[in-house]
């Protein structure tokens, strides 16, 4: 059993390359050809899928320990295999797409720095949750419980910080244009060397333009200020999916470390 501080440092060391990858993607992603973009998307998919799958295995192990006899063949059939991995890969593919597009469309160094801050945050919360829950949760389910608490807290903190930034950041004024003008205005601003990436960025930008247009035209008509505020929060939190994908990418990286250290436990 490694000392807790050592595990925390190890997690941070494994998360460092992820930080560099994020900065590299943000700065140079638009210059990459189709093949490079595809490779980045696939590797992100596999990383996220790995994290999902390993956590699934932990949950299944805890469930099997509680409900299935140790000598039963169900211990092997239900522990999580190729089919579970395949489903996780499909889910991870969608998250990876949101992550890659979101990383390329970050609104400046402020958001980038916020995401980098989440690296030590998630490592610290994971370590702290594991320690705090140790006396209360079964050892079979402890890792998964710690992950759930970590992800929930990090997601809340990160989304709150991004929401606060979006609340005060200047965006395009669509109050005097039509919906299609707003969508096209946003879509036309995107460019990339990769044609596939450019199309994906344009679609994402158009969707953002539609959200902004709807918010600027629809929300002021609401009679209740609280409802309008809630509406703005929902619009500005549209990148929550990107945050969720980012966190699962971090989880995948941290679980890959454990896999690397103890491959037989996978």
């Amino acid at each position: 059993m490694l000392p807790p501080s050592s595990a925390f440092r190890d997690d941070l060391l494994w998360l460092l390359p992820l930080g560099f990858a994020l900065i590299g993607l943000y700065r140079f992603g638009r210059l990459l050809p189709d093949a490079a973009i595809l490779a980045i998307w696939l590797s992100t998919t596999l990383l996220i899928a790995l994290g999902h799958f390993l956590r699934l295995r932990i949950r299944r192990r805890a469930w099997l320990q509680a409900y299935v006899s140790p000598a039963s063949v169900l211990q092997h059939w239900l522990r999580g295999g190729a089919l579970a991995l395949l489903v996780r890969v499909f889910l991870a593919a969608a998250l990876a797409l949101a992550l890659v597009i979101g990383a390329l469309r970050l609104h400046g160094p402020e958001e980038l720095l916020l995401l980098l801050t989440s690296l030590p945050l998630i490592a610290a919360l994971r370590w702290g949750a594991g320690r705090q829950l140790k006396g209360h949760i079964s050892p079979y389910y402890l890792p998964e419980s710690a992950w759930r608490v970590t992800l929930a807290l990090t997601f809340l903190i990160l989304c709150s910080a991004l929401l606060a930034q979006s609340w005060w950041r200047a965006g395009p004024d669509f109050t005097a244009v039509t919906l299609d003008q707003a969508a096209w205005h946003m879509a036309l601003e995107e460019d990339a060397s990769s044609a596939v990436l450019e199309q994906a960025l344009a679609v994402a930008a158009a969707m953002e333009g539609v959200r902004w247009w709807l918010a600027q035209h629809g929300l002021p008509r609401l009679q209740w200020p609280l409802l309008e505020l809630l509406g703005w929060f929902l619009v500005l939190l549209a990148n929550a999916l990107f945050v969720w994908a980012w966190l699962h990418c971090c989880v995948g990286m941290m679980l890959m470390r454990k896999l690397w250290d103890s491959p037989c436990r996978a």
């Binding site: 490694l2 050592s6 440092r9 190890d10 941070l12 060391l13 494994w14 460092l16 930080g19 560099f20 900065i23 943000y26 700065r27 140079f28 992603g29 638009r30 210059l31 390329l104 160094p109 980038l112 720095l113 980098l116 690296l119 030590p120 979006s166 609340w167 005060w168 950041r169 200047a170 965006g171 395009p172 004024d173 669509f174 109050t175 005097a176 003008q181 096209w184 205005h185 036309l188 601003e189 460019d191 990339a192 060397s193 902004w212 918010a215 600027q216 002021p220 200020p225 309008e228 505020l229 703005w232 500005l236 470390r257 690397w260 250290d261 491959p263 037989c264 996978a266």
Partner: protein
């Protein structure tokens, strides 16, 4: 599952781990601090833009340059406008207060006249009787110094002059910008014939600029320029004079009280000397003669007072005028600087065509328009 490379991160020494972590995160922050995404060069994406009734096809990369040109133009113009307004302001205020300083002897003459003396003495009675306003003396002071007009009236005239200057400047600035943009568009882009619905309509921005040049908009922005200071000028100057009078021991009440005995005795003596002690006109004659003696005594005392203290009174009036001029000048300068900054913010927001949710929310509260 055999490990390809038998390596544990925990095999690195703790110190090396910490060094790697510290260096790694420092490098991450440094790289992210001013990270700018690189865009592919040679993009052929074009934007359609409408301006001056024509449609232009412009490379997308030129749009930020157009925005920069516009922003820089209006920043430069606003700075020049503020310089001209400040110069006009200084000139007008200097003229006004030079005339006021020149009229200080006239005010001092009134102060040491019998009319002035008795106005001050009788003021409480006249105010109670509704003949004069409570601030009559302050208003009289202000009118005598500023040419029979209140300072606030002069400031209204000045504001009108400044509004005319702002209007001329704004119109010239807008026309210069339109000429610059037309030149830039003809150099960067190509005219598209028959394009009805261009993507970016700069004519709309031009229309808004015309709105910002309107006299009503300018009047709304420049209202209350120094009105507070102007309204306070008369009382401030009068208070300075009164303080000076009190400091030299010549408070009107004191002077009046000290003269009462003199007046009474001299009036009685004058009446007795000039009129017969008895007869039908004796009382009237005594009253007239006594009154003349009263006034004569007062006049003499005023002359004595003036000889001793007029210089101090004039000095205090000059000091009060100088202080008022400085405060007014600072107040008005700051006011027009705020107006200029406010207008520049409005124009910048129009140029960038931005929308900040927090400010949009604040617009719902009356009277808190951040722009």
């Amino acid at each position: 599952m055999p490990r390809l490379i038998p390596f544990h991160a925990n095999q690195l020494s703790e110190r090396l781990q910490l060094t790697l972590l510290a260096g790694g995160f420092a490098l991450l922050v440094a790289l992210a601090w001013d990270a700018v995404p690189a865009h592919p060069t040679g993009s052929t994406a074009m934007a359609e833009l409408r301006f001056g009734g024509k449609a232009y096809g412009l490379p997308l990369q030129r749009l930020p340059e157009l925005e920069h040109l516009t922003r820089r133009h209006f920043q430069t113009q606003e700075a020049a406008k503020l310089r001209d307004v400040t110069a006009l302001l200084e000139q007008d205020i200097d003229t006004l207060f030079t005339q006021a300083h020149a009229r200080v002897p006239e005010l001092a003459d009134w102060y040491y006249s019998l009319g002035g003396e008795y106005t001050r003495l009788m003021l409480p009675v006249l105010v109670r009787g509704g003949v004069l306003a409570a601030d009559h003396l302050a208003e009289r002071t202000e009118r005598m110094l500023f040419g029979e007009q209140l300072l606030a009236d002069h400031l209204d005239t000045m504001r009108g002059n400044i509004e005319d200057l702002l209007l001329q400047h704004s119109i010239a600035s807008r026309r210069a910008w339109q000429a610059d943009v037309t030149t830039a568009l003809e150099g960067w882009g190509a005219v598209i014939e028959g394009a009805e619905n261009a993507g970016i309509n700069l004519d709309r921005f031009s229309q808004r600029l015309i709105g910002y040049d309107s006299p009503e908009f300018l009047a709304r922005m420049t209202v209350s320029s120094g009105a507070g200071m102007g309204a306070m000028a008369g009382p401030l100057i009068w208070q300075a004079a009164s303080r000076s009078a009190a400091a030299s021991g010549r408070a009107a009440a004191t002077r009046g009280a000290s003269r009462v005995a003199g007046r009474a005795s001299s009036a009685a003596a004058g009446g007795a000397l000039a009129c017969a002690p008895a007869g039908p006109a004796a009382v009237g004659c005594a009253l007239l003669a006594g009154g003349a003696a009263w006034l004569g005594t007062d006049w003499l005392l005023l002359r004595f007072d003036e000889a001793r203290n007029r210089q101090a009174l004039e000095a205090s009036l000059h000091t009060a005028l100088t202080a008022t001029r400085e405060a007014l000048g600072n107040d008005l300068s700051q006011h027009y600087e705020r107006i200029s900054l406010n207008r520049l913010q409005i124009l910048t927001a129009e140029i960038e065509h931005t929308f900040i949710p927090a400010y949009h929310r604040r617009h719902r509260t009356p009277g808190t328009d951040p722009l």
